[in-house]
């Protein structure tokens, strides 16, 4: 195995459970245990758990914390109550995406927790530091001291309140969190996820995360790998940084404008986004449903019926929950309207599809 690869605190458990392991974002991560389809269905119908300890945690504090987070983040944190969470992006000045992330408003004045993608931790941390001049803030990358488990599915609440004993978790609404003190240690329980189901993300130290993992396993929560994490988020219409959001793909192109508050006084990338909205973007991210069960994969060409290439697939699967071949694709804006017929070249043949809404699966979040 590559010596450069990092391991999460749960690594030994993954190996012991017989997971198929693979490098992801610099970590040796479980792709699947019992199988992607089995794990996917467990999350849709019961409960599954994911090791997401590789995600990054960056704490921002100080007198100018709110103003600073608003400077680097597309959503508006100025009126966030304590215990609330917002989704949004950090952008380059040209509107390209540095990362997508969650911002947690801590239960303390002028303090925020930013949860970022594992592959982008260093880049994001450097980006924050290089843009903090003139702000009285402290930026702490605490990614190595936090483990994280995502418990997802219709039975996630039962697992978190029952097996883990956090009765308070049931009071949380979607995108809210609370702190628990467990033997003097801070544990964060957050009603968030990346599957389209109700669920929680639990942040704690390595030792505590390992204990929770064992408890959840005993309670029958199915261990799930990154394989089904991707099929689940895809069906729910959620973007993955690197595929649907990149330095070249702005949130406006990705259809995520609702997370970009152009009425804020300023944020990095605001002018570029405003210009894109005013003039229209050249390419847009769409959902495409195929009429055949051939599977579109990333980078396969999207064509018009006459063979003109107008875009490419960013993520595609034969959807496990919907039993249809579906994909996200970045296409010329002229062909992004719902119902447009587009062809996808899969190896030697082309298959007909039509543009549909990106949220393929009706999500079941807690209101």
């Amino acid at each position: 195995m590559d010596n450069q690869l990092k391991m999460t605190c749960l690594h030994d458990r993954h190996v012991e459970l017989g997971a198929k392991m693979s490098p992801f974002a610099g970590f040796d991560m479980p792709i699947q245990y019992s199988g992607i389809i089995d794990e996917h269905n467990a999350v849709r119908t019961k409960a599954g758990m994911f090791d997401v300890s590789h995600m990054g945690e960056v704490f921002i504090s100080g007198k100018d914390a709110a103003r600073f987070v608003n400077h680097i983040f597309t959503n508006d944190v100025s009126s966030m109550p304590d215990g609330k969470i917002l989704y949004g992006m950090m952008l380059y000045p040209d509107g390209g995406t540095v990362d997508d992330l969650l911002v947690y408003k801590e239960f303390a004045p002028d303090e925020y927790l930013l949860v970022v993608n594992a592959a982008n931790i260093e880049k994001d941390y450097e980006w924050m530091k290089s843009n903090c001049e003139g702000f009285d803030v402290k930026i702490v990358n605490a990614s190595d001291s936090w483990g994280q488990i995502a418990v997802q599915g219709p039975e996630a609440e039962k697992a978190v309140t029952g097996a883990l004993g956090f009765a308070s978790a049931s009071s949380l609404g979607f995108y809210e969190f609370l702190n628990e003190s467990v033997q003097g240690e801070r544990v964060i329980i957050s009603r968030t996820g990346y599957t389209g189901e109700d669920g929680f993300e639990i942040y704690a130290s390595a030792a505590t995360v390992c204990r929770y993992w064992d408890e959840l396993l005993k309670a029958g929560v199915k261990p799930c790998g990154l394989g089904c994490r991707d099929t689940l988020r895809f069906e729910a219409g959620l973007p993955l940084y690197g595929d649907e959001l990149t330095a070249e793909i702005s949130p406006v192109m990705a259809g995520l404008s609702m997370f970009c508050k152009l009425d804020k006084s300023e944020f990095i990338g605001k002018e570029a986004l405003a210009a894109q909205k005013a003039a229209g973007v050249s390419r847009k991210l769409v959902g495409i449903e195929l009429s055949d069960s051939a599977v579109p994969r990333a980078h396969y060409p999207v064509e018009l019926p006459d063979g003109t290439v107008v875009g490419e697939v960013t993520t595609g699967y034969h959807s496990i929950s919907l039993d249809k071949s579906l994909c996200f694709a970045l296409v010329d804006s002229a062909y992004a309207a719902l119902g447009t017929t587009l062809m996808i070249r899969i190896r030697k043949r082309v298959f007909e599809g039509k543009v549909v809404k990106k949220r393929f699966y009706q999500t079941k979040y807690k209101k």
Binding site: K20, I36, H318, R347
Partner: protein, 125 residues
């Protein structure tokens, strides 16, 4: 440890061939199916399609990946296993029973380049 069956011939790209006179019955090995995981779709050629040895004649799709299937011999497709259209998982269940195509060989000497069971066992270790 994946299964290897005596009496078949094997390619480096993990196809097996059962020789029946002039006909090559082609599938993928147990090693190939276990590497791919749950197979969800089999892309097959049409009967009468012609291929040269080394051509991909179809593909297997799992949830995560797709993998081309390559014919080790030249010739014409005389049959394809239509049962795989509705039940691609047959390949996961028994890779040596779930043949994909039958090809009428135009040059049987191409089989000489293939491995026997012992060699393939070593190769796919």
């Amino acid at each position: 440890m994946s299964k290897v069956v005596e009496g078949l011939l094997y390619s480096e790209s993990h196809e097996w061939v059962k020789v029946d006179g002039n006909v090559a019955i082609i599938g993928v090995t147990d090693f190939a199916q276990s590497e791919m995981g749950d197979i969800t779709y089999v892309d097959m050629p049409d009967v009468d399609d012609e291929f040269n040895a080394g051509d991909d004649f179809g593909a297997l799709e799992s949830v995560k990946t797709s993998s081309e299937v390559i014919t080790p011999v030249s010739g014409k497709v005389i049959a394809r296993n239509d049962a795989l259209e509705d039940s691609p998982e047959l390949i996961n269940e028994d890779a040596y029973a779930a043949w994909i195509v039958k090809i009428e060989m135009s040059d049987k000497s191409e089989l000489d380049a293939m491995m026997n069971a012992a060699k393939y066992s070593e190769f796919a270790k």
